[in-house]
């Protein structure tokens, strides 16, 4: 009975390795951000001043916010490519509303943006879960349709700063304790969702679904409902990001949010979220967004041609996934030879 207890297990080593791996990922990104920051500051001292740092945070905020929602979706083995166009349409509709009804309270702009996002998120979620259509295709179609609707609404008219309430614009540039409002909002969202993803049953079920869909069904998890919720949250946060987009840029036209979908997926994956689901945190995703933006700003500040930005971002994403793969292969191998076993799964 106790015979097996004495058998050497690779448990301890593996566990240390794996939890360290998770923590190392977030720590690693943090260190990378720091390194980029230091190098950029060394080249141009202005990079470290408070204004520049605020810009850094504001710039990363939108992608980080979208990354939070995207993480929820990707963790369930799905993907949401429609977030960029949701940002665009929500920003424009909120701007248009303020233009036609200048007296509306500022808060309403955010509520409206989130409602628009929730609407599209719900449609995505319904089609994916009810019709069992692959999310890549559904959200790609949604990307087009939403962008098309946006174009019809915009009809060539740009919303300019003049039509947006001052109070609303302040959200985009005012600071509190040196932190931009925008960043504070996103940090709160990241903290809340990050905590929830760790500590609530429904959120853990998202991980279970992505980790092993069949087992999730056998465990009685209502997969459809959970996946729907993930899309709903992703849409809602994209809608909020649209509202913030408007506050930050104080203007919007038909191109608002164009191309964000790939930026977001890149940030999330750099942040350590497995593209095939089951693992990753929203903290990692947010840090991934911050790293990408820090590099971006550092290039600008260091007077390196900003044209390097995309190339570096792409190379970073590739190295991140390649590194993950290398690490997991290494861990698997060391596990195998450590136990001498042949029964690993």
């Amino acid at each position: 009975m106790t015979a097996l207890n004495t058998v050497d297990r690779p448990t301890a080593g593996w566990q240390v390795a794996s939890s360290a791996l998770l923590r190392a990922r977030e720590l690693g990104i943090l260190l990378a951000i720091l390194a980029v920051f230091l190098v950029a500051t060394a080249k141009n001292h202005a990079f470290a001043n408070s204004h520049s740092v605020q810009q850094l945070l504001s710039g990363a905020a939108l992608i980080a916010l979208l990354g939070v929602g995207e993480t929820l979706v990707i963790v369930t083995r799905n993907v949401d490519l429609s977030v960029g166009s949701v940002v665009g349409i929500s920003a424009y509709v909120v701007g248009m509303t303020f233009k036609h009804h200048p007296g509306l309270p500022v808060l309403l702009g955010f509520v409206l943006g989130m409602a628009i996002g929730a609407f599209f998120g719900a449609i995505n979620g319904l089609v994916v879960t009810l019709l069992r259509v692959p999310s890549l295709v559904v959200t790609l179609a949604a990307l087009y349709i939403i962008r098309g609707i946006d174009g019809v609404i915009v009809n060539g008219i740009t919303i300019d700063p003049g039509s947006i309430p001052k109070g609303y614009q302040q959200v985009g540039y005012r600071t509190l304790f040196g932190l931009p409002w925008l960043a504070i909002i996103v940090i709160v969202v990241v903290a809340v969702v990050g905590y929830a993803m760790r500590s609530y049953r429904a959120a853990r079920e998202l991980y279970a679904i992505g980790s092993n869909p069949e087992a999730a069904a056998l465990a009685g998890i209502r997969t459809g409902r959970r996946v729907f919720t993930a899309f709903l949250v992703s849409g809602t946060l994209a809608g909020l990001a649209g509202s913030l987009f408007l506050a930050l840029h104080a203007q919007v036209d038909v191109t608002g949010g164009n191309g964000y979908e790939f930026l977001v997926v890149a940030a999330v994956v750099v942040g350590g979220v497995a593209i095939f689901g089951g693992s990753g945190t929203v903290f990692g995703a947010a840090l991934g967004a911050l790293l990408l933006n820090t590099i971006n700003q550092a290039l600008v500040s260091s007077k390196v041609s900003p044209f390097w930005n995309d190339a570096i971002a792409g190379a970073l994403l590739l190295s991140a996934i390649a590194f993950d793969r290398w690490l997991s292969l290494r861990v698997a191998r060391s596990l195998r030879s450590a136990s001498g076993a042949h029964r690993d799964v």
């Binding site: 069992r132 259509v133 949604a142 087009y144 946006d150």
Partner: protein, 344 residues
């Protein structure tokens, strides 16, 4: 399972000459038939809305507009057939144009510039292939990475659009059809490539291997199919063909710029999926993709002639894409709903 055991041995082992139909084919052909109906509907709609729709000019411009998208759709079809994806196609188009433009602007011969562009395409494809087939990384993440990387390299290589005039003997492909026809050059090239692609996919061992890989990669490997090698080669081919599309795009516009074709990757994916190619791999035909290209192109022409905003075309593309995946699943959904209500 017990069925075969109970059957008396007198049941003939096979039924004479086989009907020769293939389940997959039949299923796919149904979608192609639907596409054909849609195409006819689009043509009727277009000619009802505009008297000039059914003209050779429309035909020429459809070919001109869709040419590069259509050409890039073919290697993507093969990649989706094996259950992978390539989102870097449009960036490769841009990169190839940038390489070609930079070289030509700096005095190299046009032919050398084009050759180097193709080589860059092969190298870029090899990078994708190495990471995906060699290293086993998820293609969606890899090609989002190379999408950004290739576009970034294009920006570095060619910061400003070229100003030096390309030889008019080559740029005429942007204005003139193939001699004696109304076929745009890029459309003609697409037609040739489509026929080649159809032969490879539907009639050769390699094509059969692609289907097997897409449906069940493990079974393919256990049948001696070199899954990794084939996947790698597909990405290299995709890189070369997209680079070629970049050359066409550049000549057509008589100028290279790093931003060429930005965002086209999604259109190419949409065209392929609307053509009935399953995103999970293993199911799809060249005919479907060709029909899809024509429908999307004709619809765009029709809407343009009706002076409908380009944004509405996005709605149409998106809706078509959505319909193409919902319709095949709708039957199953109805069955599920019926089963559920029946049980209660």
């Amino acid at each position: 399972m017990s069925e075969t055991a109970i059957k008396p041995p007198t049941v003939p082992a096979y039924r004479g000459e086989d009907a020769g139909s293939v389940a997959l084919w039949r299923r796919a052909l149904r979608w192609e038939a639907a596409l054909l109906v849609v195409l006819v509907a689009v043509l009727i709609f277009g000619s009802a809305e505009s008297s000039t729709f059914l003209s050779s000019t429309t035909f020429f411009f459809t070919g001109l507009n869709m040419g590069e998208i259509a050409i890039m759709a073919l290697p993507l079809l093969l990649i989706v057939m094996v259950g992978e994806i390539d989102l870097s196609v449009a960036s490769m188009l841009g990169l190839s144009g940038a390489v070609m433009g930079n070289l030509y602007q700096n005095g190299s011969s046009i032919w050398l510039a084009m050759a180097v562009a193709l080589l860059v395409g092969a190298l870029g494809g090899a990078l994708n292939g190495l990471l995906i087939a060699g290293f086993g990384l998820p293609s969606i993440a890899v090609t989002i990475g190379t999408l950004t990387l290739f576009r970034g390299l294009a920006e570095i290589i060619l910061t400003n659009p070229t100003t030096k005039l390309f030889p008019t003997s080559l740029t005429k492909i942007g204005v003139l059809p193939v001699g004696g026809t109304q076929l745009a050059y890029s459309a003609a090239i697409f037609a040739v490539l489509a026929v080649l692609c159809a032969i490879v996919l539907h009639a050769t061992p390699v094509g059969r291997s692609l289907v097997a890989i897409g449906l069940q990669p493990e079974a393919a490997q256990f049948s001696g199919i070199r899954v990794k090698r084939i996947t790698f080669v597909l990405y290299v081919v995709s890189g070369i063909i997209c680079a070629f599309a970049g050359i066409l795009f550049t000549l057509k516009n008589s100028s290279a710029s790093y931003g060429a074709g930005t965002g086209l990757e999604l259109t190419v994916v949409a065209v392929v999926l609307f053509g009935g190619v399953s995103i999970f791999g293993g199911r799809g035909t060249v005919v479907g993709v060709v029909l899809s290209v024509i429908i999307v192109g004709a619809l765009q022409q029709a809407l343009t002639q009706m002076r409908v905003q380009p944004e509405v075309q996005n709605i149409v593309t998106g809706s078509l894409l959505l319909i193409s995946v919902i319709v095949p699943n709708a039957g199953e959904l109805l069955g599920r709903l019926r089963a559920r209500t029946g049980r209660r």
